[in-house]
């Protein structure tokens, strides 16, 4: 099992740091899946996560100037590692002024992701900083939990409003109630309601063209699809989005799940929140 990668470009490094900081806000521990073309940050929907699941994907060639991964055997070209995101995020943050960043999988006393940063110090001599982030290798038999989630057939798909606005509203609502209702319809209306009849209405959001033609044609555009979710989980998701994404879609499966599909330039993030039970 081998993994080595290098980032030489400052902009790419900043972007990667930003991605890891964003993911660190969404989950404490998650799985990093490294395959020849992509990097995925995965949180699978176990009870420990409160049923929330996340799938974030990025194309490695948009970030790394060198990238080499070898799995356990020839046909398994991927490696799955579990790590604490805070560690990775902290290590990358030191690299804001770095000349080069190298990441590789090592096994000193235990498996680690070694991040090696070449910093340019004030006295213009370069300094090398190395971090060993402990990781746990996930064996192949558990990989079935780490598949890309299938996008559920949703009742309503709608574009989201500015996430910062949504976040400040949900934050105020959290003081009043534990769960809130997200409802949306195909006329571009999204409502966030909590039980004491406090509601926020968003209009003219627009709906993306739906995948399954026949399902949406039967649906009355005014009819709302709704799902009850835990406010904390929604808030945690929104808090991670500092920058407004290039594209943000919310898919609601009535009374089952809400699925957020975001695209930040070249990084795609999918986040599933189950209905409150």
């Amino acid at each position: 099992m081998k993994f080595r990668a290098k980032i030489m470009d400052a902009a790419c490094l900043n972007h990667f740091t930003w991605v890891s900081a964003m993911i660190a806000k969404l989950a404490k521990t998650c799985t990093l899946r490294i395959s020849p073309q992509k990097l995925n940050f995965i949180l699978s929907d176990k009870v420990a996560n409160g049923g929330v699941s996340m799938w974030c994907e990025l194309e490695q060639e948009n970030f790394f100037s060198e990238f080499q991964v070898e799995g356990v055997s020839a046909e398994n070209k991927a490696i799955s590692l579990e790590l604490m995101l805070e560690n990775l995020s902290q290590a990358l943050k030191t690299a804001w002024n770095a000349r080069a960043l190298k990441i590789k999988l090592t096994n000193k006393h235990s498996p680690c992701l070694t991040v090696s940063i070449e910093l340019l110090s004030v006295s213009s001599s370069s300094r090398i900083v190395t971090y060993d982030i402990p990781v746990k290798v996930i064996p192949r038999k558990l990989w079935k939990d780490l598949q890309e989630p299938t996008v559920p057939v949703s009742d309503v798909s709608i574009y989201l409003p500015v996430l910062k606005t949504m976040k400040s509203i949900v934050e105020k609502m959290k003081n009043i109630s534990n769960h809130l209702i997200i409802e949306a319809n195909l006329s571009g209306e999204l409502n966030l309601k909590i039980e004491t009849e406090l509601a926020t209405h968003f209009k003219d959001l627009g709906n993306p063209p739906s995948a399954s033609e026949d399902a949406s044609q039967d649906r009355d555009p005014e009819q709302m699809a709704e799902v009850h979710v835990d406010i904390q989980k929604l808030l945690q998701f929104l808090a991670g989005q500092q920058v407004n994404p290039t594209k943000a879609v919310c898919n609601i499966v009535s009374n089952k799940t809400v699925h957020f599909d975001l695209l930040h330039e070249d990084v795609s993030l999918q986040y599933f929140i189950p209905a409150f039970s």
């Binding site: 579990e82 790590l83 604490m84 006393h109 004030v122 300094r127 190395t130 971090y131 402990p134 746990k136």
Partner: protein, 333 residues
């Protein structure tokens, strides 16, 4: 310090209003009086009560160390940022060609352990670089951070004096106005190290009077802020060793941590700085060290008697020992 700080808090208003500041002690009332003579005839007086105590004195000759580095605090501060605050100890590894500051733990790490970090600093970043031999010393990170904050305020370079693991290290700042020495204990490597301290300590004792003299000189040059704060002392909650005829000296157990010789003055000491250096597992080495320290203690105390007649050697006095009453050496500075 907590009572003194609020008195000097608003630097701006002090600079604007205060013409003169007078600080004196009134020993019969056990008070330190700080008086500000301000504009418009206003006089502000602060009375701060104190309690007599005698601090631990450290015997450590920093100039005898084979390794010395002088570095700007800013550079060290950049290194310190890399370590997470949960790190208790940090290791400084030096070779004649490079200096590495790294987090010090070799145990296999699980997911929740803190990240191992290391940073190499080239010799050209130091103002002065003298390395006798390849060495790795491990010491308390919190103390280093505290000392760095202090030195950044004074903008003076920090000198690091050290030898081998187990022997104390000194971080010193030498400015025009003040000289500060922070003596830290370092983690000892193997039990075999135990053999070196005694000769070291005895020879250091002879140098002690020199050290005391140099302190005196500093106090004559006006503002003196010589602080010998024993930084990191590993103390085991062991019962005090009582030697009825001699002074009550309590040397901390040399358990996996080399410590400078501390002469404990009085049982009434208010606090002894407790270090956050965790006790590593007790191996066979530590009992060896403990036995050893008792023997060594005997050797030191026999020499001590000669020093009782010196007025400055009021360090190791037992409050209930008749001998000290006769000596007349009291705890006044």
């Amino acid at each position: 310090m907590k009572s003194i700080l609020p008195i000097f808090r608003c630097l701006n208003s002090l600079e604007r209003n205060v013409e003169k500041c007078k600080i004196f002690t009134s020993s019969d009332l056990c008070k330190v009086v700080i008086q500000f003579f301000c504009r418009h005839g206003i006089r502000r007086t602060h009375n701060v009560c104190f309690q007599e105590s005698q601090p631990l004195q450290v015997i450590f000759e920093k100039n005898m160390c084979s390794n010395m580095l002088i570095i700007q605090p800013r550079v060290l501060a950049e290194a310190v940022v890399l370590f997470t605050s949960s790190q208790e100890e940090v290791t400084l590894a030096v070779t004649p060609l490079s200096v590495c500051l790294k987090s010090s733990s070799d145990e296999p790490m699980d997911l929740t352990s803190s990240v191992y970090s290391e940073m190499f600093v080239g010799p050209d970043e130091f103002d002065f670089f003298q390395i006798g031999a390849d060495t790795e010393i491990t010491f308390c990170f919190k103390e280093l951070k505290g000392m760095l904050t202090f030195s950044e305020a004074t903008h003076a370079p920090i000198a690091i004096h050290f030898d081998f693991p187990g022997k104390p290290m000194a971080l010193s700042i030498d400015d025009m106005l003040l000289e500060a020495n922070f003596i830290l204990a370092t983690l000892a490597d193997e039990p075999s190290r135990a053999s070196s301290p005694p000769s070291l300590c005895l020879s250091q004792k002879q140098k002690r009077s020199d050290l005391m003299c140099s302190t005196n000189n500093n106090s004559k040059t006006g503002k003196n802020a010589t602080s010998k704060a024993p930084g990191c002392i590993l103390r085991k909650a062991a019962p005090k060793r009582l030697y009825p005829n001699e002074t009550q000296t309590d040397i901390p157990a040399l358990e996996n941590c080399g410590s400078p010789i501390m002469k404990r003055v009085n049982e009434d000491i208010s606090e002894v700085p407790e270090s956050s250096v965790s006790n590593t597992e007790e191996g066979p080495g530590s009992s060896y060290l403990r036995q050893f320290s008792c023997v060594f203690f005997g050797a030191v105390s026999s020499d001590q008697r000669q020093h009782f007649n010196y007025p400055f050697d009021s360090l190791a006095t037992a409050s209930d020992s008749e001998e000290d009453m006769n000596n007349g050496s009291s705890s006044t500075f």
